[in-house]
């Protein structure tokens, strides 16, 4: 009997590249790679040729030229004498501002709606269903336009707020009045909100490129410090619970720690609100928030919250009833059960799709162009592009920036996700 000690060797034939399972996948991958490289080379070559034919070159020097256009909402100093790069920064900040608040409001609203949709109250759960289905099944662009039209067409003119002497004598009310204790005026030109002012502000430091607002920095530092102290307080309470079994009440200390120092700082700096006032034909004082911003924020929030609500609902439903029953049987009350058993498990299901929604919302801010909201798309990808004719550079740069923002959000959320996932399996 022959001993089968050697691995049988069969000679390599060329046809094995196609028919042998060991080589086939390599063959396919190499072919695809070659085709892809050829496609990229063709695109690059085509672009270079077309640029040459039009006598254009590829460079970003235009970023340092004078922009020459105005931007309504600017959170860093900007005039039409500033450079295109400065305009890009203003646009980028506008994008980030609307994305930041959008994510926060959409999360709050989404969680509330998602939980209410599971309510046993028939009316409430049906109302939430109607909301979710209406908003997620109609394109976002239409919601943005609708919000804008409602805000700018149905709101009163500034003169409607005026109280003339005759009206005062007759005891008549004006056609329109301010809301939130007479501090906010919504007119067809925008929303006038109170401006925070400081009698003894800390001023600012000019670092050449950026200007640091010391008042804002001090406020942020105080808030961060308060959170740190509160964290220590909770840790101390946990230690005491582990040692004695009784957890000391911390809620009022937490409130004191979280709000006390901030209120004290505000008082020390002489914080007060400058309420907008009707002067002549328009409101002065306060801050004028453009309807383009408000409409974009409202539409993004309502639209994305509908998706987040579904994610939250799915996350809660993914936890079996047995989990809460086991906790109840052990004597845990419903609120503790939610905090110790349901939420830690639901978060694991909720966070990954939530990351996608944050990315979607951030990218969807570029639809602000429909209502002339000058974000990154409106400045760099809109007016700067049209004025300089550098479409290739502008588009590539814009794509790169959006990509970077998305990757940063994704990385941060993934980091958080890892902290709530199961430690072992």
């Amino acid at each position: 009997m022959a001993m089968a000690t050697d691995v049988p060797k069969d000679s390599f034939r060329l046809s094995m590249l196609v028919y042998d399972t060991r080589y086939r996948s390599y063959t396919i991958q190499i072919v695809v790679l070659l085709l892809f490289a050829m496609a990229v080379a063709w695109l690059l070559n085509n672009t270079a040729q077309n640029l040459a034919a039009r006598g254009k070159e590829f460079n970003f020097a235009f970023l340092w030229q004078r922009a020459g256009y105005d931007i309504g909402q600017q959170l860093i100093p900007y005039t039409n004498d500033s450079t295109h790069f400065r305009a890009l920064l203003v646009g980028l900040i506008n994008t980030l501002v609307v994305a930041f608040w959008g994510c926060i409001f959409a999360t709050i609203l989404g969680v509330i709606v998602g939980v209410l949709r599971l309510s046993h109250n028939w009316l409430i759960s049906r109302m939430m269903t109607v909301y979710v289905e209406t908003f997620r099944n109609i394109p976002l662009l239409l919601w943005i336009l609708l919000s804008y039209v409602i805000l700018s067409e149905t709101t009163p003119q500034p003169r409607d707020f005026r109280v003339t002497d005759e009206m005062a004598a007759a005891g008549e009310a004006p056609a329109a009045s301010m809301i939130f204790f007479d501090t906010v005026a919504v007119t067809n030109r925008g929303t006038n909100v109170p401006a925070p002012l400081f009698e003894r502000g800390l001023g600012s430091v000019d670092l050449g490129f950026v200007t640091l607002n010391l008042t804002l920095l001090a406020a942020l530092a105080v808030v961060a410090g308060s959170f740190w102290v509160n964290h220590r307080l909770v840790a101390a309470a946990r230690a005491q619970q582990e040692a004695t079994g009784v957890r000391p009440a911390t809620w009022w200390k937490s409130i004191l720690i979280l709000f006390g120092p901030f209120i004290a700082l505000m008082a020390a700096l002489g914080f007060h609100l400058e309420v907008p006032e009707l002067k002549g034909f328009n409101f002065t004082g306060g801050i004028l928030v453009a309807h383009s911003f408000t409409a974009l924020l409202i539409a993004l929030t309502l639209y994305t919250a509908a998706f987040i609500a579904e994610i939250v609902r799915a996350g809660i439903q993914a936890i079996s009833r047995g989990q809460s029953e086991a906790a109840f049987a052990l004597g845990l009350r419903p609120n503790r059960t939610t905090r110790l058993i349901i939420l830690p498990q639901a978060l694991r299901v909720i966070i990954p799709p939530l990351i996608s929604q944050y990315l979607n919302l951030t990218k969807n801010t570029s639809l602000g162009i429909a209502v002339s909201y000058l974000d990154l798309r409106g400045t760099l990808g809109g007016i700067s592009l049209n004025q300089t004719g550098r479409e290739l550079e502008c588009m590539l740069l814009m794509m790169l920036i959006y990509l970077t923002i998305s990757l940063i959000i994704s990385a941060a959320m993934n980091l958080y996700n890892r902290s709530v996932q199961l430690k072992a399996r």
Partner: protein
């Protein structure tokens, strides 16, 4: 015989159910239930699926509400009063068919969670108690693993230990071995028999007739939401009274 001495039933009433009825919407799940459980009694409840046996024991710690009648557990009547419900739940342990361990917590954390948050026991003491009961169900070496890393039988023993950590006076078992492989059923039943020998008051929904014959002092047969027959296991198996009981026994003992 020493074991039998330990398994004495006292004349103190542990659970008293009188004229209890329950409906799910229009469906009458439990009809006119009357039963008394003495301290130290071990009762096996059996019956076809849908007969209301799980619902009955879930009423005893108010995972289900009853609509009519009275349930008194350890002198506390179950009403809508949260305080009464808390009191009963802290005295009554429950083991589920699907274990229902908390997958995001380690075995040790599963066991100490309720003592720490409900009984306000210091963490160290709670962990000592947990390790004591883990040794008792013979898996102390698994304390720092997660439930997903354990076999079904081990998970169910952890679930039993988790209930015991609350030092309950009554234990409810809702088909504790139905989701287990035959080999693992034995290790769980051994744990339960050990518990019975220590004098725990037990109500167990199960079809393990061997277990019923070994430890139960009473077997209750339910059908269509009613208690059809109850008797000592010897009588129950050798001389069933009603036709329905005979049919049921022939079906589960027949193969």
């Amino acid at each position: 015989m020493a074991e039998a001495a330990k398994m004495q039933v006292s004349d103190e009433v542990a659970i008293q159910i009188t004229g209890m009825n329950k409906w799910y919407g229009q469906f009458h799940v439990l009809r006119d239930i009357n039963m008394t459980v003495m301290r130290g009694e071990r009762i096996v409840i059996c019956g076809p699926s849908g007969s209301g046996k799980s619902t009955l024991i879930r009423c005893i710690n108010r995972l289900e509400e009853h609509q009519q009648g009275q349930i008194i557990v350890d002198g506390t009547e179950l009403t809508n009063d949260l305080k009464n419900i808390d009191k009963v739940r802290s005295e009554v342990g429950m083991v589920f068919q699907h274990f229902n361990l908390f997958p995001h917590l380690t075995i040790l954390e599963n066991l100490t969670l309720a003592p720490i948050w409900v009984r306000k026991v210091p963490k160290k003491e709670a962990e000592e108690t947990a390790m004591y009961f883990l040794s008792k169900v013979k898996i102390p070496e698994q304390a720092h693993k997660y439930p997903g890393q354990l076999s079904g039988g081990q998970q169910q023993r952890v679930a039993i230990a988790r209930s015991l950590c609350m030092k309950p006076r009554i234990m409810l078992f809702d088909e504790p071995t139905s989701a287990l492989d035959p080999e693992m059923i034995k290790e769980v039943l051994d744990t339960m028999i050990q518990l019975a020998q220590e004098g725990m008051t037990m109500l167990c929904v199960t079809h393990e007739m061997g277990f019923a014959q070994a430890v139960a002092n009473r077997v209750i047969f339910m059908d269509q939401g009613q208690i059809v027959e109850q008797n000592a296991p010897k009588e129950f198996f050798s001389n069933p009274q009603s036709e329905r009981t005979k049919l049921f026994l022939s079906q589960i003992l027949g193969h």
